[in-house]
Amino acid sequence: MDNLGTWIVWPILLPLIAIIPIFLRKRSGAANVSLVTAAAIVLAVAGLARQVLTNGEQSHAVGGWDAPLGIMLHADGLSVFMLMMTAIVGAITSIYAAGYRFQGGGDSGSSSGYFFWPLSMFLWAALNVLFLAADIFNLYIGLELLSLAAVALVTLERKRDATVAGMRYLLASFLGSLAYLLGVALLYTAFGTLDLELLGARIQPDLPTAVAIMLITLGTALKTALFPLHFWLPPAHGSAPTPVSALLSALVVKASFYLLLRLWFEVFPAALTPAIAQMLGLLGAIGILWGSFLALRQHKLKALVAFSTVAQVGYLFLLFPLASTSAGWGVDAWSGGVYHAFAHACAKAAMFMAAGTLAYAIGSDQLDHLAGTFQHYPFSVTALTLAGVSLMGLPPSGGFIGKWLLLNSALASGQWWFALVILTGSLLATGYVTMVLSHILLRPPDAAPIEPRNTRVSFTLEFAALLLALIALGLGLAATPMLALLRIGMPFTGY
């Protein structure tokens, strides 16, 4: 079957196609259509992954028009890796959302819950466009669609704090997109192409290029919530409905990070001077420490989990100094960072889901009110704990693999200060995870069982969180095949 080249379009087409029946069938069928679509996307991504594994990188000209005229799609190891991450988290979040009761309008069949489905499919399509785009303008399209869907999702429940956070998120996000678009325009005027590969070949180190690179980097760093541009993230992720928090923390911040990774390593690698790389790494390091420190000071569970995302995003930026300055160890750092992104996606989504379930069950997500929840929701607490293990970076979890690879290249390239930051980050993560556990496991002193507001939590909620947490854990044991996939077409020669 040589014409399997079309696998590559399905991850984008399927969610877009699904939106039509979701609108037609209205409330009752929305969840079912979405679940079926999610399964189909998972299959399509698996097909593409198999194809890339056996035949190497894949390119596809949409409608048969080649670059520079037509739209090119391109899939290498990194693309497929991100698509897999999105497919796993997206599909399981859909399962979770099917059992979730959105506030401001009853079950998932009614108003606010209903709009989750088309918007999440929209978000999914945007992510897949971004991961498969082969030119910087389509990357922009993906980024922009993503922001629209994400902001709408944050404000889904029409709560005051979520709306305020959503507005702030909207402004930050569009500012980021705007900066990126300016950069793209500068590059296009200077070099006359948008295609990533052609651009990489033509690019010259001059002033407009430097300005363009700076704008692109600032814009995407703002969207990825790199310290000190993270201010918008905790309120937005903390106040969104739980399935949305999961999608935002797991996937949306990774999308802009992916963009940064692509551009810095494949289009303008020469511009990644040690000074700039160290700068990005330093901001990442501060993000790790600052985010974790603030997580430790939170009194609300979901806010704590959101601050943890600020910290975990910091690890991703350590990749730049580690992968750029040490040729021999670059692969380790690069794959470590990307692996960390994948593991964090699964772990963080699981953690948000578990946190959301507990908060929903007792009607509050104040840490002080969580005592005794373990007795009623052992699966959610287990999911939260296992996800925490991955965030701490302890074996046997996916987070550990990422940490090990980053640590290895930090020490091998002599950048021990980043090694210290990585380890301190683990300690702080241990601090906030055990802090949460201490609240949850505490048996109420009067020995009276707690009276949950909603004892009848759908088992779907608990199951989805646990499944994702187990995947985060399993990533620690599946590193060999996953890294082999990641190495297909990676921007390092000789491996």
Partner: protein, 504 residues
């Protein structure tokens, strides 16, 4: 896969599978749970005995699974591994029997036995780990598996202790990881090799000293080396079977065993000596021995006194490692086993006293020997062993340690041993005296319904078994398969590769 490659995996599977299964059994399936568990333990013991024989005859068991590019998950048995594996598998069985008798009143049996089994699996993994990466892997899983046991009661105190425990353990793990990765970045993956795997490589001395310090500090947290011991007395909040396991084999032994591995099989005694790191290590060990004993003296809470005694006793192992010589090597390694059975006996007895009569303080133990003669006999035997009286197991350890110190010309170490023995007497003998010869001030409050024995038979039998072993390991130290002879075999294999090490 060949049989010899499969067996180490089977050893791990024999405890990990039933543990995972138990999480999914209903809380009310007590009988099935217990039989599943005991069956797994028998299987594991048989496997271990089978391996033991193979290792003695020179057979090798090795499982290698690539986990990352250039990093293998490696399980490999050698004589040293088998000593620890035997300790772990054997004490798992007796502790389980004890736990069956003890846990009845506490909730969440499934969770307890599940994590208990996972802890034991981690110690088996630590025993069989063939390289630093695998050792680190299980060092951390041990932390994770023991946390739920420490906080099992879910009270405010237990959870506070759990947080302290995690802070210490994860910090220790981080230091160890830093050392492991640093060393790996210099020389590639480091596999444990009898005689030392760094022998014959030309490496930067100061980097090696730093790596050694990091690893020992990381392992020292679990070994409760002064000043990294703070978590241990706090972790006493856990139920008695957990304390018993933590103090005898699971956590603290993992650290001590790691130090043995690092000194003999990573750096090698010869290189350690060249680097000059053994003298500081013996100083730390000596300080911990004295410090632990002094703190033990002033505790009235029985379990806390035992905890500080553990702090002190563990450093005998470290001291044996830090003194160059055959006798001290044997003394240190054999104490891994001896300290395990003696300390577990003491904790079993402490648990029995608390469970049967509600006694947790030493001041409440006056005359308890008359009410519970069998328990106090076991307790007394373990105490005599701890002090180092012949013919008990502890005497053998101390004798070899002392001999080693004299051989190496470290007379001050002998002084440490003697001082510590006097302190042991000072904090242990009054308990034994009070139990047997004093008269109870108030009548004991019975917490169990009267039965045929002085307490539950499932509580008593494990304590008597380990007490008996304390006696037998001492009496028959010269027979073929005693821990002493096995340690001598280990010492022979670790040291003969470099005969020049033992020279002056």
């Amino acid at each position: 896969m060949e049989l010899s490659a499969l067996i180490p995996l089977l050893v791990l599977a024999s405890s990990i599978l039933p543990s995972l299964l138990i999480f999914f059994l209903g809380e009310d399936r007590a009988r099935l749970r217990i039989w599943l568990y005991l069956g797994a333990e028998i299987v594991k013991l048989l496997l271990v005995v089978f391996m033991l024989e193979g290792i003695y005859l020179g057979q090798s068991y090795e499982t290698r699974i690539p986990l990352l590019p250039g990093v293998d998950f490696l399980l490999r048995a050698n004589a040293l591994a088998m000593l620890f594996l035997m300790l772990s598998a054997g004490l798992w069985l007796v502790t389980t029997i004890y736990a069956i008798g003890y846990m009845e009143e506490l909730p969440y049996h499934g969770r307890f036995y599940g994590f208990f089994g996972l802890s034991v699996t981690s110690t088996a993994g630590l025993a069989l780990a063939g390289n630093l990466f695998t050792f680190y892997f299980f060092y951390e899983t041990l932390t994770l598996a023991t946390y739920p046991l420490v906080v099992h009661r879910q009270t405010r105190e237990a959870l506070a202790a759990g947080r302290t425990y995690m802070r210490y353990a994860v910090a220790g793990g981080a230091l160890l990881l830093l050392g492991v990765v640093w060393l790996q970045s210099l020389v590639g993956p480091v596999e444990f090799t009898e005689g030392g795997s760094l022998v014959g490589r030309n490496l930067n001395t100061s980097a090696l000293v730093a790596i050694f310090a990091l690893m020992i500090a990381g392992l020292g947290v679990k070994t409760a080396l002064f000043p990294l011991h703070g978590w241990l007395p706090m972790a006493m909040i856990a139920p008695a079977p957990v304390s018993a396991l933590v103090h005898a084999v699971a956590v603290v032994k993992a650290g001590a065993f790691g130090i043995v591995r690092v000194v003999y099989e990573v750096f090698g005694l010869g290189l350690c000596r060249q680097l000059g790191v053994l003298f500081p290590l013996s100083l730390v060990a000596s300080t911990t021995i004295i410090y632990g004993s002094l703190r033990a003296l002033v505790q009235d809470d029985l379990k806390r006194r035992l905890a500080y005694s553990t702090v002190s006793q563990l450093s005998y192992i470290v001291l044996g490692v830090a003194i160059v010589g055959t006798a001290s090597t044997i003394g240190g390694i054999v104490h891994l086993m001896h300290q395990g059975i003696m300390k577990i006996t003491l904790f079993f007895c402490a648990g029995i006293l608390a469970h049967t009569l509600g006694i947790t303080r030493i001041s409440e133990m006056d005359g308890v020997g008359r009410r519970m003669p069998a328990t106090m006999v076991a307790f007394s035997i373990a105490v005599f062993g701890m002090i180092g009286l012949p013919p008990f197991a502890g005497f053998i350890s101390k004798w070899y340690l002392g001999m080693g110190a004299v051989e190496a010309g470290q007379i001050w170490s002998v002084a440490v041993l003697i001082t510590s023995t006097l302190l042991n007497m000072a904090y242990f003998l009054p308990i034994v005296y009070a139990a047997w010869f004093k008269v109870p001030a108030v009548p004991f409050t019975e917490k169990l319904p009267p039965g045929r024995f002085e307490t539950g038979p499932l509580l008593l039998a494990p304590a008597l078994t380990t007490a008996l072993l304390t006696l037998l390991f001492g009496l028959f130290a010269a027979s073929d398969f005693s821990p002493l002879q096995w340690s001598a075999l280990i010492a022979e294999r670790e040291l003969t590769t470099q005969p020049e090490v033992l020279g002056p």
